[in-house]
């Protein structure tokens, strides 16, 4: 009893992870005749959501500081468009193009971070402006869709990394081993790095301190403003990096891309146990938040007749569930004081 009270946040994380496995187990039972049990179905959760995983990880970090970044969806679209435009219309190579978009992301984060940390403007408003700006810039670069045909870029996008086990023969007689794309490896790498940074570095701990209570963080001698600025710079970089991974999946630039992406990232983080009030959050939870969303989507496509909008309704129910749970924990905490 005592342990559970002390580690409320871990308990939330545990529920998220448990929920994911329960849902997956249900899928295995309900869709056992439709090959739901294949390793590839599980891997596709990562393949299709590599970009979102990075964005959700980055969002978690921002939410821990008590901030928010709703510009990420537009930054993803701008990144895809910039990549497509530079490679296809300007003849810039794939490597310099990727470096340029990552730099653009850093500058974007720097500006937003400066406004938030040093001019003390509400993060919501700053990133709302950022959201409009990036979406607008995407359209300025090109209102037409641009298809990426750069061979090096496509080879990154299409290079399958096969697993040596878990293969299957489909009914056409083709043997297929489970595979992932490099984007999955990169996304998981980001996850691990941010996880270590948050948990084991001084900077990581100061992020939690700033989000938990800004006043006491100041009194503790932490440079609150610089911490926030750094967080938004990393966030801008990761938004562009997530955009790059997203682009590896879609291989095109298009104004309407990744609309509502920021909200999916926030939903993933909240389901994963991150508090919007700051100070609490874990990137592992956010990963599972994204995977839960992916699992619901897989359910809907496997079921085949349900409207795909049920994904949104289920996410809404899950969000409500986790928010209520969080507030129950917060109340329990207050009582103890």
């Amino acid at each position: 009893m005592k342990k559970f009270k002390l580690e409320g946040n871990q308990f939330l994380l545990l529920i998220t992870i448990l929920l994911f496995f329960i849902m997956y187990a249900i899928g295995l039972i309900v869709f056992r005749d439709n090959n739901f049990g294949r390793l590839q179905v599980f891997l596709n959760l990562f393949v299709s959501n590599a970009g979102l995983i990075v964005i959700a990880v980055s969002m978690t970090m921002v939410l821990i500081t008590g901030g928010i970044d709703i510009s990420v969806g537009s930054v993803v679209a701008m990144t895809c468009m910039l990549l497509a435009w530079m490679m296809e219309k300007q003849g810039i190579g794939a490597v310099p193009a990727v470096i340029i978009v990552l730099l653009v992301g850093i500058v974007f984060g720097l500006v937003q971070g400066f406004l938030i940390a040093y001019l003390k403007i509400q993060p919501f408003i700053v990133t709302l402006a950022g959201m409009f700006f990036a979406r607008g810039m995407t359209a300025i670069i090109s209102t037409e869709m641009i298809s990426i045909k750069n061979e090096l870029f496509l080879s990154w996008a299409q290079e399958k990394i096969y697993f040596p086990f878990g293969g299957y023969v489909n009914k056409k007689g083709v043997t297929i081993n489970p595979y992932i794309y490099p984007s999955v490896v990169l996304a998981l790498l980001v996850l691990v790095i941010v996880f270590i940074m948050l948990k084991y570095t001084k900077f990581g701990r100061s992020i939690y301190a700033v989000g938990g209570n800004e006043q006491s963080a100041l009194l503790m001698g932490l440079n609150v403003r610089r911490t926030k600025l750094k967080v938004y710079i990393i966030d801008g970089f990761l938004a562009a990096f997530g955009g790059f991974l997203f682009c590896l999946n879609t291989c095109s630039g298009f104004v309407e891309q990744a609309k509502g992406f920021e909200m999916e990232a926030i939903a993933g983080a909240v389901i994963g146990g991150t508090l919007l009030t700051g100070g609490v959050g874990n990137v592992i939870g956010s990963l599972f938040g994204v995977l839960i969303k992916g699992t619901i989507e897989t359910f809907i496509t496997f079921q085949g007749t349900l409207s795909s909008w049920w994904t949104k309704i289920t996410i809404a129910a899950l969000l409500a569930f986790f928010i209520i749970l969080q507030s129950l924990f917060a109340k329990a905490k207050e009582k103890r004081k």
Binding site: G27, I146, S147, N170, Y181, Q257, I300, T301, Q303, G304
Partner: protein
């Protein structure tokens, strides 16, 4: 402890709802049968034998088709979806797995990946956008699943990635419209007169815009003058705006070609607001495309002269193609659906009753 209990209950309830969603309509009879069969025979191989036929039965007779639809953004789209749902029924020997992508390409890519894992026999895609399909189509190709495109084309470097494309012939719609206008003017005794035409174009670059503009241009007569062409971006408000400026600029417009119905509605409003008349009884002839239900109302009201259909009923044609592929025949890369036109000389009110959209 109470709270812990409460949360566990909540979690269970949530999961239970999800199961409800997942299995609502899928396999009411097959599942329990398989469960009963398994424990009856204890040996592992027997279990497999017992389950295999149940799975085979479902998939052997029925051709499984996965359809990744754009969304439900318009009446046209809904009619298109309905066409697939009514064609690919179990009575006709199909099982349709339908996915609404909510206008997002990433959702369509996910749906296609899921179709591949479910080992559907055919994948049909109405792509949200033309670009960025290579990776996922390669996956389908590797799995040996034929892909059929509906409505919109895909911009892929290797066209062996899809089996064929099914859709409307926009160029033919345009040239049909010009041919209709020629006959119509001759019928009115204006075959030799100078005719001033303006065009409200669709979103520049959209295949409907390009095809209809080119098609109409190919049917232009010597005594016809194309005064101006401007985009109304397929919307009613923009169509009205552009038509207003046309009316100010050109005092003598005889014919307005609108590349979709919404722009035609806008143009009609603009013409009426300017104190002019349109339709078969009026000064200005209105030609439009798409033939949605509201356009029939407009023809019944005598505002619009003729409308050239963009047929959303792709289901039967796709079924035809699938049957050919099943028989091992090869199919044409480009497959047009049959399209008709309607004008006020017909009994449009009666036709409207028979239409699905």
């Amino acid at each position: 402890m109470k709270k812990k209990l409460l949360s566990v209950i909540l979690a269970t309830a949530m999961v239970a709802t999800m199961v409800g969603c997942g299995s609502a309509t899928s396999e009411p009879a097959a599942a329990p049968a398989a469960e009963e069969a398994a424990p009856a025979k204890e040996a592992a191989p027997a279990e497999e034998v017992a389950e295999e036929p149940a799975a085979e039965e479902a998939s052997d007779d029925l051709i499984v088709v996965g359809y990744a639809q754009v969304g439900a953004e318009s009446d046209w789209r809904t009619a298109n979806t309905e066409s697939f749902k009514t064609t690919f029924t179990e009575e006709n020997g199909y099982q349709l797995i339908f996915d609404d992508a909510q206008q997002k390409q990433e959702n369509q890519i996910k749906a296609i990946r899921s179709f591949i894992q479910q080992e559907v026999d055919y994948i049909v895609v109405a792509p949200v956008v033309e670009t960025g399909w290579e990776t996922v189509l390669e996956e389908a190709k590797e799995a040996g699943i034929p892909v059929i495109l509906s409505d919109r084309m895909m911009d892929v470097s290797d066209d062996s990635l899809y089996e064929c494309w099914v859709g409307g012939n926009f160029v033919k719609e345009g040239s049909d419209a010009a041919a209709w206008l020629k006959t119509y003017l001759e019928g009115q005794g204006k075959g030799e007169e100078e005719i001033n035409i303006v065009t409200l174009q669709g979103t520049i670059g959209a295949s409907a815009q390009v095809g209809r503009t080119d098609g109409f241009a190919s049917g232009m007569q010597d005594n016809w003058v194309m005064l101006d062409k401007q985009t109304g971006e397929f919307t009613q408000s923009k169509g009205q705006e552009v038509m207003e400026s046309f009316l100010k600029k050109y005092p003598d417009i005889d014919v307005v070609v609108c590349e979709n119905d919404n722009m035609a509605f806008g143009a009609i409003d603009a013409i009426k607001a300017a104190g002019k008349t349109c339709g078969p009884e009026g000064d200005i002839t209105i030609i439009s495309f798409d033939a949605v239900a509201a356009a029939f109302d407009s023809m019944i009201a005598g505002d619009m002269n003729a409308d050239f259909e963009c047929n959303p009923l792709h289901g039967p044609r796709v079924a035809e193609i699938i049957q050919k592929l099943q028989a091992g025949e090869s199919v044409e890369k480009i497959q047009y659906v049959d399209e008709a036109y309607f004008d006020t000389s017909m009994d449009v009110a009666a036709i409207k009753e028979t239409r699905a959209y």
